[in-house]
Symmetry: D2
Subunit: 337 residues, 4 copies
């Protein structure tokens, strides 16, 4: 890390900082400039753990190394391939996870699953536990929903992706799901991350709406440091002042994360945008930007959906999108199953 001292910091103040750094095991390179003294400190602590900025003589502390290690491309150069239920995520093949926001009934889910299957997607999404802004909204079918998802897998061969909201229900969710999802609002629920780290299933880690890319990678680091290396990152929009869309889809995060990390990256345009009309264009753009897959909300009848109908594609629009995505995959040198 580099410590920039305040203008006119005295020798005593500089010595105090150097001493503090040496005491906790850093090697020091001191550079006294005309305007500022700069202290380079080489060692292993995270700058946030060293209370230097509490010292009035310190202007700024600049970290040099990225705070994430296991998630970094510096640590592992080649991209991570995640193999689950016969598919490979993060390789040449682009995967589509699709389905309704919430599991509502057997009929709804089976109809959705059948459309997802026949369109060429490989994974079925559907929430059994729903994080809802209002306590008065539909909260999901819970275990009953998990069972329906398992039935849909049985019937179609699709892999099941579903969200876990709570460490207490994680064993149940992990029993039914092929891939466990950590939702955007739980991205920094560190208790949950620690538990998910112990599960032997890949994890889709949604980016939090106010999470910088580095914080998102740090959340992945929590899971990896706990022993689960199969993390799929999923961009789903960040909060900005633009309110026409629900969130602002930060598609540039795709090539950025591909550069900084070896983990696969998906994009969920449905939740990011909140309006079905713009989902197909942005799903295509996600593939063009280099995503390893997309997650799409599709409902047999969006106008009757109990949750997020406004952002769900109709079966017809979804089938058209799948056809477009296949062409798009080709043009970026990839393929779809």
């Amino acid at each position: 890390m580099i410590v920039i001292m305040r203008h006119k910091a005295t020798d005593d103040e500089i010595d105090a900082v150097v001493l503090r750094l040496e005491n906790i095991g850093y090697q020091i390179h001191l550079s006294r400039g005309v305007e500022r003294t700069i202290i380079g400190a080489i060692g292993n602590k995270t700058p946030g753990d060293v209370g230097l900025e509490a010292m009035p003589s310190v202007e700024k502390v600049v970290p040099i190394l990225q705070p994430y290690k296991l998630a970094s491309r510096t640590f592992q150069e080649e991209g991570t391939l995640i193999r689950v239920g016969g598919v490979e995520i993060g390789g040449d093949t682009i995967h589509v996870i699709a389905g309704p926001c919430a599991v509502e009934s057997k009929e709804q889910l089976m109809e959705a699953a059948s459309i997802v299957r026949s369109s060429g997607a490989t994974m079925l999404r559907g929430g059994a536990y729903k994080p809802r802004t209002s306590p008065y909204s539909f909260q999901g079918l819970e275990e009953e929903g998990l069972k329906l998802l398992a039935e849909a897998r049985e019937a179609t061969g699709l892999l099941i992706v579903t969200e876990v909201m709570d460490a207490r229900t994680l064993p149940l969710v992990a029993e039914y799901a092929d891939i466990v999802q950590v939702g955007a609002r739980n991205m920094q629920n560190f208790s949950l991350l620690r538990e998910v780290a112990k599960v032997d299933k890949p994890v889709v880690l949604k980016r939090g709406p106010s999470a910088a890319i580095e914080e998102w990678l740090m959340a992945a680091e929590h899971i990896m440091a706990g022993g689960n290396y199969n993390v799929i990152l999923c961009e789903r929009g960040i909060r900005s002042f633009e309110s026409y869309t629900r969130n602002t889809l930060d598609l540039t995060a795709v090539p950025v994360v591909k550069h900084l990390s070896h983990l696969p990256v998906f994009v969920d345009p449905s939740h990011a945008i909140g309006k079905w009309r713009y989902v197909p264009a942005m799903a295509k753009a996600a593939i063009a930007a280099g995503a390893d897959g997309v997650m799409i909300e599709m409902h047999p009848n969006p106008a009757e959906a109990l949750s997020d109908g406004a952002q769900s594609l109709t079966p017809n629009n979804f089938v058209n999108l799948m056809s477009d995505l296949k062409k798009m995959a080709g043009v970026v040198g990839r393929k779809m199953p």
Copy 2:
């Protein structure tokens, strides 16, 4: 709610929307304008629960009523008073919650508690379970930290405010704490909110860094709908593009929440700003803006803190601030204990 139809929506499309609304129990007022048809719908559902925006003929759905009820001043005109351990929160008296970010040791906590006590503050803060961005940082003393907090209460008479991160440790936290805190990153951890709702202790609910005021009040609604009416809201900064401070303290939220809700509002300038230098000015501004109290990080030796030293006041700066806050309370017609 009001449904604005798209320009050139046909009669059939309008009828379909009306029918959908009537079927789920809304009363309809139709207003056909030259440019747009407007449908007024009177009933009890939350607009988000009605998939109208999935219909291509619908331009926009505008809710009329606030989605929160129990937290609203429409529901309860007079401000909520929360009585706990002999103090009253939300009344004329302004309270200060102060202490270190994390409980680090008996010595550190006892020293902090003694300073907090003698300065005139009534509540001691200190984290036993710490949500940390990095898995490699100090994560808190856990139950040992809770016990030290109880000892500090014993020694000083201060009330204990500490954070719960997980439904599984809630019983333990609630056993030791006088007031349970839900942290900013858990503001929409709905599983946790549901559990906190069942506990017989007041709850400090921090505002999430990307939570709109309405979402914050909806999080309070989750707790109140579950049976716990003693919610203290705490503004602690929102995420904006300005990166000089850690977050952007949205102090205007104080009078806004006072207008929309009857719940008490505190402000935590330490976490919002992340730099101790600016904390005293903003603590004073918080009281001037109408806050019912402030939460301040103070550490016996910030430069040695294991967590958030950069934003902690020294004992000396804290004592000076307390003296300023007393004057400030007077000028807005309030008092301090």
Copy 3:
């Protein structure tokens, strides 16, 4: 517009609002509900022009119609085609505007122009007047730069796109340029918009970094209302908390603007992102999302650039990108020249 009265608004208060609205020419539909009275007001004023929210009895005013008219697809259903110097913008053909951030010298510009030409792009960008954050940075060659741009056009046949910063130099800029650019930081410089409206050249209107889509369209409306209908919108990133990239490229704005307006939309990933490494991926994504063209910074030697070298492609990277964009255009049913 719809006026939502406060809970418990009295009859006198409601009458006062109705009277105020009738006096300025609105027709009124009154709907007294149990919880709230709603006043529908039909007329032509912009809600912001009516001081209703100054009345304490008014809770909220909701506009129904979009505030822009000429720029709206409701006003003109088919997309605007802009014909300039033999090219057609907004039709089937996707155009690329490329070149250095600033015109630095004859040699630099001619070399850049020659690469741009041979790669198949149709327009050359280059700043003669540079808006620079620091007064101590290179501010552009001014008229000398404009002359060099004209020479480059002469030599290559490329159309010239260059920025105007001031109403006083507009005549000069408009004399040399084929397309005049209004920069992001001038998007709400209404004096400049009014002058640009009188010029007989198409205008590239960059989106301001804190401009909502509606405000951007309102800026276009200023130009169109003044008589210049040839406005090309250009998304170039909005300000968000994510600081890894310079701004957050809001690519979803492309299909949104295509839905709301008939104007052509370009994307400038170079300025949005600020790092050359991620520009090609996002240029491709822009075309996939439906943009009518992209604007790309390319410099013969980025490391020697006087301005924005960090985001400029090398000639080699640019030529590769052009080849990718041609394939991308094909897959979305469009072509490149």
Copy 4:
């Protein structure tokens, strides 16, 4: 500046960066670490002017010195006092600038001025040229408005603060105004800043809604570098995701700017918030936070205002606020005239 090389940068790549830096006059300190090589470069160029980040071997460039000089407290330790028309801004006395958003008529302005005068404020605001989002809204009385402002000064002795929108009308505005205002949306209109720098009147420089504090100070630097040292900074809200208020008042910017710069700082809560109801609380908080003054919109009859009625105080509310501000000034060791 400090240059952080990429992991595995080769010796040749490191040499190329060193050579580039030495060629443009930097002194070099090289530090080869195990994970990263760090290059310290001492010299006078702004990092943005050096295209190092265009080199693929460079990971990141970290500036050490602040890019502003004249505006910095490092350059001038004691606070700037601005003396104009018998008042002193930036000293012990807190000043209030008040009046309507726009000059609408002689009657309106005189009534407003008389209230402003009798309440103890020293300066009258009122727009003659109005930057309006819609081209169909009232655009101001222009020169006629300036004449009315001069008449109001004649009648009351108040100093006149009014906005300039265009270099072409600046001579006229400067002739009538005592203090010239540069609006938020023109904060980075560098052509205008350069002209304002040549005028012999103090300048109120509003913070742009997407301007970081450093950019705001750089805009002041533009004016100061051009010769006008009498710059009054004015915080007026930044753009965030919170849409209940028009912008988010970043009150922490007050103590931050006071720390970084010697220039006086005002706060305009009216434009920041957009709702009159919350303006008094935040005006008081501004003084508590250390502002040198506030700018308040007050209209004799807000409900009839041609512009921004929703955020204007009534005369009665304004008079009450002035009385509260006097008490507030006392408690922070300052006074009002």
